[in-house]
């Protein structure tokens, strides 16, 4: 995919929207407007946007608990998304799902998931269905490095290869599963190597903070999947700047480490690339950033003005009629 001005603007805008969404989420939480917990993907924006930019609108994604960025990259309506984050009736899930379960089945977003590894077996099944439906659609299935240790991952890789499903599995390796370091854990750094053994040729890892590198790897895998070449496994190496969730006291890592990774900010990096290649001017980039934050601000206003669910309707939606 060659990077056009239009694409550059789109990617940068999406990344700023993600950053702004997460910052707003944090603020809303701090202000006591949000109950519950949340998992912020600040620092991981290039993995979401780079990966999902390779899809057609009719393709699918399936996400994980740290999924806000994935939703936005898949083109979520920011108002509905923020409203869901606020638990409001006109959110994507009528306030039933919240941060960890935002989904838009019609829009091809098959949902975040509160269970680590919970989305991976689902992805295999979506792949089986897509193959049977024979419309050449593909699925990107996201999960974290922690999820790669689950039995769900192993069983799913085996099934995915067996049925040659049109799925690209994307491991967003942000170096930690809560406090559990990818470096402690002997398999994490070898996730892509596992992919080869499962029978996914071309499984690879990327600098997940480099949008274009991510895009290139995922693009090739999507193409292969779409052409019937079966699944792939791609590991995007990245980092979460914030704690795991609101309960995190960051005891397991150093400030220096966090600072080191902040210097590799995927947004600034992409912005510089675009400016360097004259696709965008400094000023244009600044405008895009402002736009991203403004979009989120208006989503916040929408969400805050939105109605609460009616408690009398609690039992709706459990069963299909």
């Amino acid at each position: 995919m060659t990077l056009t001005k239009e694409k550059a603007e789109q990617y940068l805008l999406q990344m700023y929207q993600i950053r702004a969404f997460e910052e707003q989420a944090e603020k809303s939480y701090m202000a006591g407007k949000i109950h519950g917990t949340m998992h912020l993907s600040i620092g991981q924006e290039a993995s979401a946007v780079g990966s999902i930019s390779t899809l057609e609108p009719t393709d699918f994604i399936i996400g994980h608990h740290r999924g806000h960025g994935l939703c936005i990259a898949k083109g979520a309506d920011l108002n509905l998304m923020m409203a869901e984050f606020y638990g409001k009736e006109n959110g994507y899930c009528r306030g039933r799902g919240g941060s960890m379960h935002i989904a838009d089945v019609d829009g091809g977003n098959l949902g975040a998931n509160g269970v680590v590894g919970g989305g991976i077996p689902l992805a295999v099944g979506v792949g089986i269905g897509l193959k049977m439906q024979a419309e050449n659609k593909v699925l990107l299935a996201f999960f974290g490095d922690g999820a790669a240790s689950t039995g769900a991952f192993h069983e799913s890789m085996i099934l995915a290869v067996l049925y040659q499903v049109p799925v690209v599995f994307i491991c967003e390796n942000n170096q930690y599963a809560m406090s559990f370091s990818a470096n402690d854990w002997t398999t994490s750094k070898k996730i892509a190597a596992h992919g080869e053994i499962y029978g996914m040729p071309g499984s690879t890892s990327t600098d997940g903070n480099d949008l274009l590198e991510v895009q290139k790897a995922v693009e090739a895998a999507v193409k292969r999947a779409r052409e019937g070449g079966g699944p792939s496994l791609i590991v995007n190496d990245t980092y979460r700047w914030r704690g795991h969730s609101k309960s995190d006291r960051n005891r397991y890592r150093t400030k220096e480490e966090i600072e080191k990774w902040k210097k590799k900010d995927p947004i600034l990096r992409f912005q510089k690339q675009c400016i360097g290649e004259k696709l965008l001017s400094e000023k244009e980039a600044e405008k895009i950033k402002d736009q991203g934050y403004a979009d989120i601000e208006s989503a916040r206003l929408f969400a805050e003005a939105s109605p609460e669910p009616d408690v009398a309707a609690l039992e709706e939606g459990v069963y299909a009629p």
């Binding site: 699918f60 399936i62 959110g91 994507y92 899930c93 009528r94 306030g95 039933r96 799902g97 379960h101 989904a103 838009d104 089945v105 019609d106 098959l110 949902g111 998931n113 509160g114 269970v115 919970g118 991976i120 077996p121 689902l122 992805a123 295999v124 099944g125 979506v126 792949g127 089986i128 269905g129 897509l130 049977m132 439906q133 039995g151 769900a152 069983e155 799913s156 085996i158 099934l159 067996l162 049925y163 709706e316 939606g317 459990v318 069963y319 299909a320 009629p321």
Partner: protein, 328 residues
């Protein structure tokens, strides 16, 4: 009408639904060439090919999730878990995903999945191949739970389950597979959530599930010789439960014995007792609500111990006699 076995009824329901609806497919361990551990899907691979009869390696969690994912985008999978004991491996995907996706997504998702699995003891397969966990899944909003007793019910309930837009746990019983009964050749549905009165009677209600319905029917024949007239209610669907039929029967007889194979403590019998004891039937009871169910042990290997571990016909007779003589 034509007689076929329970096993054939299950196979026929799957086959006819697959012929009718190209979205239906079967996925499970050894369901292809092997025909399934109990030969339920024997011959289906030849008929439908490997694209619709998906043999899996040993991946209970993976295959249950795969079926759920396919359902989420409009397919209508039937997943088979070879023994109900191994639903312990599949329950995350069944309980957290399949059962909840619709609600969690604000009603904007549909998961038309059937998970078939054989439960029960009596085959000498011991602790890991004999369990009955129906009440686990009854406890999960978003799931439906079906336990057919006769070949007729098996076919009609399975067709209804496949056509249902919700995840259904469809629990077969190994010892029923070879039992025979009249089954129409054509497709028909038995609505989920509708109990069946398998025998009318006036002295005593037995509410039984799965193979215990058959044993209760046998017990009732014996009891009839003593002039005890037993009514037998088979809920067929455990979730949603046909409370009305149950309550009406208990109101009529004033006495109720609950019989199931699963371990008594924490089992579905408690739910039934709870439903009756909180209903208007409570006022009509003229004896305690009795439960006869699996003993508080894993299912042992030895044949005599195994038989003793779950209710047999004599146990039902004895318990029913005891109940008839009880008064508050």
């Amino acid at each position: 009408m034509r007689e076929i076995t329970y096993l054939e009824a299950v196979r026929e329901a799957m086959t006819q639904e697959m012929e009718r609806d190209s979205r239906v497919f079967l996925i499970g361990e050894d369901v292809g060439e092997y025909g399934g551990a109990f030969q339920v899907s024997y011959g289906m691979l030849e008929k439908f090919g490997p694209e619709r009869i998906l043999d899996t390696p040993i991946t209970e969690l993976g295959l249950t999730g795969a079926a759920t994912g396919a359902a989420l985008i409009g397919m209508r999978p039937i997943a088979e878990i070879m023994f109900m004991d191994f639903t312990t491996l599949a329950s995350e995907q069944l309980v957290n995903q399949a059962a909840k996706l619709r609600f969690m997504f604000g009603g904007n998702a549909t998961v038309p999945l059937v998970l078939r699995t054989p439960a029960g003891s009596g085959t000498g397969a011991a602790e890991h191949h004999s369990q009955s966990f129906e009440n686990w899944f009854v406890h999960v909003p978003g799931l439906k739970v079906v336990m057919p007793t006769t070949p007729y019910d098996a076919k009609g309930l399975l067709i209804a389950s496949i056509r249902d837009d919700n995840p259904v746990v469809f629990i077969e019983h190994k010892l029923l597979y070879k039992t025979k009964g009249d089954v129409p050749e054509e497709l028909y549905e038995i609505p989920l959530g509708k109990a069946d009165i398998k025998r009318e009677g006036k002295d005593l209600t037995i509410i039984a599930t799965s193979i215990m319905v058959q044993r209760s029917l046998q017990a009732a024949e014996e009891l009839a010789k003593d002039g005890i007239d037993v009514e037998i209610v088979d809920p067929r669907t455990l979730r949603p439960l046909d409370t009305e039929t149950i309550v009406n029967s208990v109101k009529k007889t004033g006495k109720v014995l609950i019989v199931h194979e699963a371990v008594k403590t924490g089992g579905f019998g408690g739910e039934l007792a709870g439903v009756i004891a909180e209903s208007e039937a409570f006022g009509y009871l003229d004896a305690p609500i009795l439960r006869l169910a699996g003993r508080e042990v894993p299912i042992p290997y030895n044949r005599n111990l195994e038989l003793k571990a779950v209710p047999q016909v004599e146990d039902i007779i004895q318990k029913a006699r005891e109940l008839v003589n009880l008064r508050v």
